[in-house]
């Protein structure tokens, strides 16, 4: 597909030949994630997280479709049907915990995947489209996760729905009618629950479709690699299968050990006890927080406590929260450095680690109560977050003197291309 030396799919069995002539689906799979896709030979373990994210999507769809067979999306019985799954349905407890912790696992691997992209410059030409589609997937994931958390109809579900739809109420003029339209009422109720269920079922399949576009766009330039130097010759690559199917298989094993440890020994560690109380529109829990994977963005939302630049504080918080992700769409053009990998960018590397710390600080503040010193810390961290993308990155990419790059991937691995040339592949 991407390189002239890619292995050609040659079916030997007559049935496979017949299928290949009518619908070359096995050929498509072979070229996408089989021996027909040449991949840089030097990928490190940070390149496992794309496959792991794909695995999580499948895990969520499988467990989710099963849960939908037992769950009732009606405000009167939704909470009880969730408890019915937990107590009465065979293996229901495991499937629900697998789905709830699966969402957290999905976000863990996707955040690592995104930060891999930040560090190794995966968003740079010619891979901008892959990055843009990835940001779209992340936005869809956030919407899906939010609506899924509403479905058990506990206190956190209800008040999460109220607060998040309240964000739309901050928009001038149309905000309030828009919020009522989104909810189908004046507060979250049966209408809201039903539509959230419908969309929560639909969006994962939309995500799957965008994932296919994401992989399609990836296969045009081929995978990036830790040196950021493009593939030059056949000796720079190995076939995806068996080399990276094996490596990803090992990564999947490690992932599953950690995931199962959470699932079976700490299934509620990332949840909130308040969500085991049925939704009560008359009483707000003392401490409302979203799920951990929204904490950094929630901290940015809450950082605006006073009117700023003529915008009311509430609207400003909402704009900042959405901008925190929308700014990623401009990343390929904010970072102008021709060098991709952070390994060869000494100044960029330092700021990358500061950004990582900054996001962790935001995450911590987002999960903390809205009181000092957390409010002030979130304000500083929010300011730095935007400073990084809008000011630091463009300046660093123009003043930085990168370290010398290796001539090729092979040289980076073996010291010289000749060594590889003496031993032809297979």
């Amino acid at each position: 597909m991407s390189f002239p030396w890619a292995n050609e799919y040659t079916p030997s069995h007559p049935v496979m030949k017949w299928v290949d002539e009518k619908l070359p689906l096995p050929r498509f799979v072979y070229n996408a994630v089989g021996a027909g896709y040449p991949v840089p030979r030097n990928l490190n373990y940070f390149w496992n997280f794309g496959v792991l994210a794909g695995f999580c999507l499948v895990l969520q769809i499988v467990t989710g479709v099963i849960l939908a067979m037992h769950y009732a999306p009606n405000a009167l019985v939704a909470f009880d049907s969730t408890e019915h799954i937990m107590r009465d349905v065979n293996w229901g407890w495991m499937l629900r915990y697998a789905h709830a912790n699966g969402a957290s696992a999905f976000f863990v691997v996707v955040y690592l995947h995104i930060f891999r992209g930040f560090f190794f410059g995966s968003y740079k030409a010619p891979r901008e489209m892959i990055w843009l589609l990835g940001v779209v997937i992340f936005l869809l994931m956030m919407a899906t996760a939010f609506m899924g958390y509403v479905l058990p109809w506990g206190q956190m579900s209800f008040w999460g729905a109220k607060v998040i739809t309240g964000l739309f109420g901050a928009i001038p003029v149309i905000g309030e009618p828009l919020q009522i339209w989104l909810l189908g009422g004046y507060a979250p109720d049966n209408a809201s629950l039903n539509r959230f269920f419908s969309l929560h079922f639909l969006l994962p399949f939309v995500i799957a479709a965008v994932v296919i576009l994401h992989i399609w766009a990836l296969h045009i330039p081929g995978s990036s690699n830790p040196t950021g130097v493009e593939v030059k010759t056949e000796s720079d690559t190995v076939p995806f299968h068996p080399y990276y199917t094996a490596k990803d298989g090992f990564g999947l094993g490690v992932f599953l050990i950690l995931y199962c440890a959470m699932l079976f020994f700490l299934p509620n560690a990332l949840g909130h006890p308040d969500n085991y109380i049925p939704a009560n529109p008359m009483s707000t829990p003392a401490h409302i927080v979203p799920e951990w994977y929204f904490w950094p963005f929630y901290a940015i939302l809450r950082a605006f406590t006073a009117d700023f630049l003529f915008f009311p504080a509430k609207l400003m918080g909402v704009l900042a929260m959405f901008s925190a992700i929308l700014v990623w769409f401009f990343l390929p053009w904010l970072d102008n450095s021709p060098v991709r990998s952070g390994h060869f960018r000494p100044l960029f590397r330092k700021f990358f680690y500061v950004l990582m710390l900054d996001v962790l600080v935001l995450g911590y503040c987002g999960g903390a109560p809205a009181a000092e010193p957390y409010v002030m810390i979130s304000q500083i961290a929010t300011a730095y977050y935007f400073l990084h993308f809008l000011v630091i990155l463009p300046i660093v990419s123009s003043i930085e003197k990168p370290e010398p790059l290796p001539y090729s991937i092979t040289e980076a691995v073996l010291g010289s291309d000749d060594k590889a040339a003496l031993k032809p592949a297979s």
């Binding site: 339209w181 189908g184 004046y186 008359m282 707000t284 003392a286 918080g317 809205a370």
Partner: protein, 192 residues
């Protein structure tokens, strides 16, 4: 053109065009696409409108309350449009406190008189929905934290409201909303 051969003869096509170069077919094209476009857009109306509150939700949007048992200084939480509404019998001291605040100090300037009905100035009826992100503020129940201005206090993000339920501190942009209501008698209020 008596026999339709199925292939467009360039000369015939040119002959069909009027003096201004406009053919009958251009008109049919524009008319057909325009009709299909209007029809397509019209289809969106039911698709969008079905998400707005349904008739039964709208039907529940008025509430009658007997307020005779609420003593001065007390408040109750009632339900209006499936959301809490606070009905508070203000003490003379609380009314004086609210009236003493200069309007220039307020984020959302309103007097207590503007937020109550004439002749019933001691009855403060507001939605129990914080104008920040919709939490239920504390202060209507017995012994709940009323915040540093003696009205209501939202535990979510720390907004404090005064004895006229006006925003005084914290991220909320507006005073607690006063719903439409009327006194049907001295002890009965109809909200909505």
């Amino acid at each position: 053109m008596a026999e339709n051969t199925g292939t467009a003869d360039m000369q015939t096509v040119a002959a069909e065009a009027g003096d201004d170069g406009v053919r009958r077919r251009d008109f049919i094209n524009i008319a057909a696409v325009a009709a299909a476009g209007v029809g397509g857009i019209a289809t969106l109306v039911p698709l969008i409108s079905q998400m707005a509150p349904s008739a039964d939700v709208l039907a529940e949007s008025s509430t009658e309350l007997d307020i005779s048992a609420i003593q001065p200084g007390q408040a109750i939480k009632a339900v209006f449009r499936k959301q809490p509404v606070f009905v508070r019998n203000l003490t003379t001291k609380e009314i004086a406190e609210a009236d003493a605040v200069p309007l220039s100090e307020l984020r959302d300037p309103q007097t207590l008189a503007e937020r109550t009905k004439e002749g019933h100035e001691n009855w403060l009826i507001t939605m129990g929905v914080c104008t920040h992100l919709g939490c239920v503020p504390l202060g209507a129940g017995e012994g709940e934290n009323r915040g540093e201005f003696g009205g209501y206090f939202c535990p979510c993000h720390g907004s404090s409201y005064d004895t006229a339920a006006r925003i005084r501190k914290g991220p909320a942009p507006k005073n607690l909303e006063v719903p439409p209501y009327e006194f049907t008698s001295d002890t009965v209020v109809k909200i909505g």
